[in-house]
């Protein structure tokens, strides 16, 4: 029972963070929401009893990919422009 509730909460958080990535006009906030998505999916891997994959996903998805996004945003513009 408690496992089902945690599952539902994690999957709801995945959907919410994925929608937030689309919604934010501030690209730094969008990159951090993408990192939150990776963190939640690593939590889901851990719940599904794959701790090996969870460590890889947390390190590479939530850490290194977000770092590359932040470095790219630092050298370009931070805010997304409106569509022409």
């Amino acid at each position: 029972m408690i496992e089902t509730i945690i599952h539902i909460l994690v999957i709801a958080g995945l959907i919410v963070s994925a929608v937030l990535v689309y919604h934010f006009k501030d690209l730094l906030a969008a990159a951090l929401a993408s990192g939150l998505f990776s963190f939640l999916i690593s939590l889901e891997f851990y719940i599904l009893q794959a701790p090996d994959v969870a460590i890889s996903q947390a390190a590479i998805g939530a850490g290194l990919t977000t770092a590359i996004f932040i470095i790219a945003i630092r050298s370009t513009k931070r805010y997304e422009e409106d569509a022409p």
Binding site: P51, A59, A67, S75, R78
Partner: protein
């Protein structure tokens, strides 16, 4: 451009904990989930944290490209070298010549349920250390080249 003082202080505090946890994952690779690749990726995350928080000039003063490239090469040479030593001893490639020998990482695994003995596994911990050093250098140098590509231009 450098981040605010809060980000830099947080990076300084978290860097030690992240590196220690990554080295723990590498050293316990033959007992617990994780191993050389996962531990090396965790340590490289600590390096990426420092690279994100500080400016280009400060980062190249702290982290050197030659050290990371030497780490990558040393990890590969160590991995292949440990595998080739087994041929030198008259056995097959990748033979686990240290297991149950009583020397380094050579303790016999105790029988029955036990919390796990670190001093076992033969050449597997050595292979994990080699892969960990190599992944640490490789992933950190990817981030460092990403930063040095934009370091010359004026940052917005």
């Amino acid at each position: 451009m450098r981040m605010s003082k809060i980000v830099r202080f947080g990076a300084d505090v978290l860097f030690g904990a992240i590196v220690i946890f990554g080295l723990y994952v590498i050293m316990h690779g033959h007992l617990t989930p994780g191993g050389g690749f996962q531990g090396g990726a965790v340590v490289a995350t600590g390096a990426a944290l420092v690279i994100v928080a500080y400016s280009y000039e400060e980062v190249i003063g702290m982290i050197r490209k030659t050290v990371l490239m030497a780490q990558e090469s040393a990890g590969l040479v160590m991995f292949a070298g440990v595998a080739l030593i087994a041929i030198g001893l008259g056995t097959t490639f990748f033979f686990n010549f240290l297991a149950n020998s009583g020397s380094l990482f050579g303790m016999t695994v105790p029988f029955g349920p036990n919390p796990g003995e670190l001093n076992t596994g033969g050449v597997l911990p050595l292979m994990n250390i080699a892969v960990g050093i190599e992944v640490w250098g490789g992933l950190a140098i990817v981030i460092l080249y990403m930063l040095s590509g934009i370091g010359k231009t004026k940052e917005a």
